[in-house]
Amino acid sequence: MSTPTDTPIDSTLINPDRRKALKFGGLAIGFLWLGGGKAALAAINPLRQSDDAAVAAADGHPAFAPNAFVCIDTDGKVRLVMPNVEMGQSIYTGTAMLLAEELGVDLAHISVEHAPSNAQLYGTALLGGEQATGGSTSTRNGWESLRQAGAVARLLLVQAAAAQWKVAADSCTVEHGEVVHGASGRRLGYGALAAAAGKLPMPSGAIPLKDPAHYTLIGKPWRRVDAAIKVNGEAQFGIDVKVPGMKIATVRACPVFGGKLASVDDSRARALPGVVAVIKLDDAVAVIGDHYWAALQGLQALEISWDLGANAHLDTAELTRQLDEHSRTGKPIVARKQGQRPAAGKSVEAIYQLPLLAHATMEPLNATVHVSADQCEIWLGTQVPNRVVAAAVKLTGLPEEKIIFHNFFLGGGFGRRLEADIAVQAIKIAKQVNYPVKVIWSREEDVRQEIPRPMYYDRISAVLDPDGRPDYWSHRTTGASVAARWIPAALSKDGLDSDTVECAAETPYAVPNVLSEWVPCDLPQGLLPGWWRGVGPTHNLFVVESFMDELAHAAGQDPLAYRRALLQKNPRALAVLDLAAEKIGWGKGSLPPGVGRGIALGEPFGSAICAIVEAEVTAEGSVRMRRVVVGLDCGQMVNPSSVSAQVQGGLLFGFSAALYNGLTVKNGGIVESNFNDYRNLRINETPAIELHVVQTTASPGGMGEVGTAIAAPALANAVFAACGVRVRNLPIERALAAHHEEARKAVARRKQGDRAEALT
């Protein structure tokens, strides 16, 4: 269960699919509406499909390929095809484990392969059938169907062996890539059986899956399947591709959102050694060189005039003003309404603001494209292969089968590679030359041409009952919709983008009267809102869990006890809260001055997580995290090593943003440019992180974004506990700096007042 259901729900306002969808959370909610719920969940087909023929042909017709995920060659090689992309989240390892568990092979005996672009075979049902990796959906999407795909392969191999031995199939077992007939001691490797198994008819109906008690892979910590090639420089990211005859380009696009190229004087650039060509686009100029350095020198030698357009004077203050105005005067779309605001009771209210965020993947955006007369070949690490191919079809006019797409490891995604903009730009450049061109953005371009997480402006209030508990809870989010641009069909009939209220409309807590609503506030033309790790929950959990802390404080109660009292009908959330509290020793012992602990609890992406941060705030207002303790229930863990890595990394990604990050807009463009002014947490700022897991065998929840979503509120609540400053405006560093200034002025005023008193 994911939400308390002790109170009646106004059925006119809750789409029945929505509650079902809530257990998936994040991006998946909208897509489930789109996909019609359960029917869409079976889209990964463990049986051979018509589209397999082309893939098999491209693969040289492997001896045994019962579906799009398992290939076994006659030499015994077991190759597993990965429907999702690997961007650090360890999905290649988890996916390989699901397939290998049922197939009966060891991880040491398989290899993994990137999938080609083919949504029919590799689409993610939880993302509307699109071949996309995001929203912490991959494991949830493949949990049943990928194990089924492994089981189909195993069944056929067993049938092939049984036929050869003339024994009953059910007298055979599998282990370590061999079929075994226990009674006679005979064994045959999968390679020897591949050809025969490949000729057998597909089974019908679902195949019984392993009893969890007999898992040999699932639930145990395994080394990542991509570990070895990521410690010796062998792993190939998109930026590493080498194509014969390839040149390197780098680009400067208009620094103002929506601005266009007016003119460019490229005479100095063209005269530089190594510069090959200067390419003009509507909104950008690219310089192509023999190598990146030549291209960069050429770019810096350009004299560019921009047509800055309507946003030339846009700044952060104006964006904030628009959000504030919309939050007061815009028409809210109701996500959940339950009961009424009571006439009496102590009222608490607050405004929370979240900034624009960059993704800043370690691998700057890049794409390599070769457009020739009859085909377009693309080398690119992307979360959305289909969108890249579709963009190429549109831009080149070539049929889809003439778009040759190669995926790669992604040097970080975080949602940025859910966009095809780099591919579109590279294709436009490649169309103007007759050789392959690798387009690499400088870090500065990568930051300034962001498709950032939008700003949010949240008004939140509560009315407390005589015991100090919330009798009424009202939360109005205001901000741009990513879904409205990215997948408009996922919006509900009344225009609600569920992502904007995810983890706000439904909280873990029992509150009698609730109003949750969203006011759309589009960003100016030319500034696109993008998905960012943790999506809606990262935004809303900061507001909800910070405000829950405010309520506890307003009620004069301990933040742990206050939450516990509201969770008596939600044992799953209560369990992770209690686990984290017990492990950190909440309420026991004393902390040094300036040190505080902050709790945050949430149920994002089908998992339940509680993080408790212990942090110190110095007199100068800098924050030092000492320790983080996490309680987690993510259902059945596929690979516990990956789960703990995602908790560690997800938290640190969230802490970086919470402490330091917020893009500043000035003169219509982004001010920040690189890691010097868009800071990332470093190892010397990294706290000890302890993970404690509630072990269950329920279906897996999502893990790739859970840590990120819970990080900011836990840290902000720790800051409050440490120094008494309530952070309602991220990032924390700026909030504390602002507070420090206020405090300094207050001290100065008091001194002046003292002097005035002394004079009278």
């Binding site: 390989a96 490891f409 990394g649």
Partner: protein, 170 residues
Amino acid sequence: MITLQVNGEAHQVDAPPDMPLLWVLRDLIGLTGTKFGCGIAQCGACTVHLDGQAVRSCVLPVGALAGKAISTIETLDQSDAGRKVQQAWLTVDVVQCGYCQSGQLMSAAALVAGNPNPSDNDIDMAMAGNICRCGTYVRIREAIKLAATGHTDALQVIPDDAGTPSGANS
């Protein structure tokens, strides 16, 4: 033409003297294990060894490197410290997206080569110049201690028999 000693071999490269080593390695010599992250020595993804010291190749002009021994991630396993660090990275299962890890490993190997028992503070000093957006720092810290001391107490450890299958390089 400039002659560079890279991974024990002499390479003649046609590079302007102000061209950073990073782009000579990647675009002229073809060694792509060393990564581009920021171009201004802020992230450490481009870290290589210059006469055994960890340096940021994205701001190192090749004109000054004649006669210096340059080594990259591709030959990290040829040094004792390099092998220990790589093995520890596997044992602790450090990597996530992996993009920054060449730089992390090069910084870590330089640390371990000169410090048999690095403290948390030593690790902070040596590794604070290497950014990881995936947040592998907790495990990097553990892996460096393992590589330096051989002790696996209280570490996240995955035994070798768990296997390391081949990856998805296309």
